[in-house]
């Protein structure tokens, strides 16, 4: 009788410990296995290849979860700004003919320094830094 009880006890304790330890170890093992995207994109993104950008054109690039407007002003001239209009958060676009940044929502206009030229926006656009490495274009935050 005592033997059976001890056996039952061993099962309960052993099984419980095994299951509980398993439920602790399993998440830890999954945790140390790095996820598919190995790091949070925070400071720098690759916007594309230099050849992909026409002179005097603009493109919206994802920077983390916010849009950034990358403008190629000339053969070697690049500007990048936050694409979120400072008026009511619409996404701005580059206007080639005016060589200016325009917001379609309420006709706000910014120049190529990000400063407000006309319309309702109250603040200039945040500027980003553009660097070329080889033939790739990198956009990063200002320090």
């Amino acid at each position: 009788m005592a033997g059976e009880r001890r056996g039952f006890l061993k099962w309960i304790l052993g099984g419980g410990v095994a299951a509980s330890v398993g439920s602790f170890i399993y998440p830890v093992l999954r945790f140390v296995d790095p996820p598919a995207v190995p790091e949070a994109v925070v400071n720098e993104v690759v916007a594309g290849k230099v050849q992909d950008f026409k002179v005097n054109s603009g493109k919206i690039v994802k920077f983390g979860s916010r849009p950034v407007l990358l403008i190629r002003t000339g053969e070697t001239g690049w500007r990048a700004f936050s694409a979120v209009c400072t008026h009511l958060n619409c996404t701005v676009q580059y206007k080639e003919d005016a060589r200016a940044i325009w917001c379609a929502c309420h006709n706000g206009m910014y120049d190529l320094n990000g400063n407000v030229v006309s319309g309702p926006p109250p603040k200039p656009l945040d500027e980003f830094v553009v660097r070329l490495r080889g033939d790739e274009v990198f956009v990063s935050r200002r320090a």
Partner: protein
């Protein structure tokens, strides 16, 4: 004797240093009077003219340095007394249209206000002898004039509508001009007022934005779209290319205001109700209207349902901030679809809405995935709790088994 001279000289130095602003006997005397004669003197210190060193005499004439009222307010010194209200524009223009003078105080200050005023309805009425029309002092006040940027100024963007309404909402006053007096009441229902008053967006339009300030005149029927288009450029562009443009022009109707009204501008509800004003039910146009309305309503409710799922996930403690940010793109697509309505082309509206529908589906999916993950976590928790409960039970049984035979208590052990 020498010492006395030195003391006297020393005494005069502080007196000289404490000379302060130039003498203004007008304010000094009138401050001691009562009622209507005292009021201007009390408020004048807050007036922007006073702050630039001007005195009452610069508008009313007279000698500010003379303490004797007879001399200070003599015709010889140019004293004019209280000018008639209708003379105010000319009086103000004496300085405010003088480029050379204004440049001394603010080189960027405009000097064409009087010229504009003379083209305005108010100015023309004054010129025709109607003394009840508005002049400078009715809007800018007098003796306590503040800069437009000063929130206490009656013409500060936040206070301008009520300043205009002082007359234009007064039915008795406006009766003889036969114009409506419901503009302010309607304007207060509008999205523009909401932006201005509730969101404090000073760029939002008030009366002067569309009617002009000094040259206040309602826009002509043909220029309504251009006026609205100064901010709503895309809408104006699309409207000009749409069938409505020629039709409304031919009927002499004022563009945007036909559907959106002039003062009580609101977002139009999606069911195409405003289209029924002209288009019969069952006509091709009303079917087009219904189609566009349905597309937009579908996108709106897709976004709302995605929003609800994400909110539920967030309330359960799940991290869904990225999907919430993506929803912003979806709302932009809804705005684009609404803008596309101005083309009156249902296919354009459909295309604009499609991008939004895709985003709404994606974010809703993210929300549902978050809820599934939440359920998985709770299931995992249950499993772990079960394992823990079983282990605790096992430990307790082990303790009991251990102590049944031999008691755990010992007499030995340290103190």
């Amino acid at each position: 004797m020498r010492r006395a001279t030195i003391w006297l000289a020393l005494g005069l130095v502080p007196a000289g240093l404490a000379a302060g602003p130039p003498k203004d006997s007008c304010v000094e005397c009138h401050a001691a009077l009562a009622d209507e004669l005292q009021k201007p003197a009390l408020t004048f210190a807050t007036d922007i003219h006073s702050q630039h060193g001007f005195s009452c005499a610069d508008c009313h004439g007279g000698d500010r340095g003379a303490d004797d009222a007879e001399i200070a307010m003599s015709a010889a010194h140019g004293f004019k007394g209280k000018p008639a209200r209708k003379m105010a524009p000319q009086l103000c223009a004496r300085c405010h249209s003088d480029v050379g003078l204004m440049r001394r105080y603010n080189p960027r200050e405009r000097v064409d206000q009087y010229a504009e005023y003379q083209t305005s309805v108010h100015g023309k009425l004054i010129a025709s002898g109607d003394e009840a029309a508005a002049t400078c002092i009715d809007c800018h006040s007098v003796h306590d004039i503040r800069a437009v940027k000063d929130p206490l100024s009656p013409v500060h963007p936040l206070r301008l509508p009520e300043t205009c309404a002082r007359c234009h909402a007064d039915a008795a006053r406006m009766a003889k001009y036969k114009i409506p007096t419901n503009q302010f009441a309607e304007y207060r229902q509008s999205v523009h007022w909401e932006a201005l008053a509730k969101r404090r967006d000073l760029s939002a339009p008030s009366c002067a934005s569309c009617h002009g300030n000094h040259g206040a005149t309602p826009p002509q029927v043909s220029s309504v779209a251009a006026v609205c288009g100064s901010c709503h450029a895309m809408m104006e562009d699309l409207y000009d290319k749409s069938p409505h443009h020629d039709v409304f022009a031919a009927m002499n109707l004022g563009g945007c205001v036909v559907c959106h009204s002039n003062h009580g501008v609101k977002m139009l509800a999606g069911e195409g109700s405003v289209c029924k004003q002209c288009h019969e039910a069952g006509s091709a146009e009303s079917r087009t209207a219904a189609g566009m309305a349905a597309t937009i309503t579908k996108l709106d409710s897709a976004l709302k349902s995605s929003d609800a799922v994400l909110a539920q996930a967030a309330r359960s403690g799940m991290e869904v901030s990225e999907a919430v940010m993506k929803e912003q793109d979806g709302r932009e697509a809804l705005v684009k679809a609404r803008v596309a309505v101005h083309t009156l082309d249902p296919f354009v509206v459909q295309k604009a809405a499609e991008a939004g529908m895709a985003i709404a589906a994606e974010t809703r999916h993210a929300g549902e995935a978050a809820l599934k993950e939440r359920d998985f976590r709770r299931f995992g928790l249950l499993f772990a709790l079960l394992a823990i409960a079983v282990t605790i039970a096992g430990l307790w049984l082990a303790v009991r088994a251990l102590e049944r035979g031999a008691p755990p208590l010992e007499e030995s052990g340290r103190r």
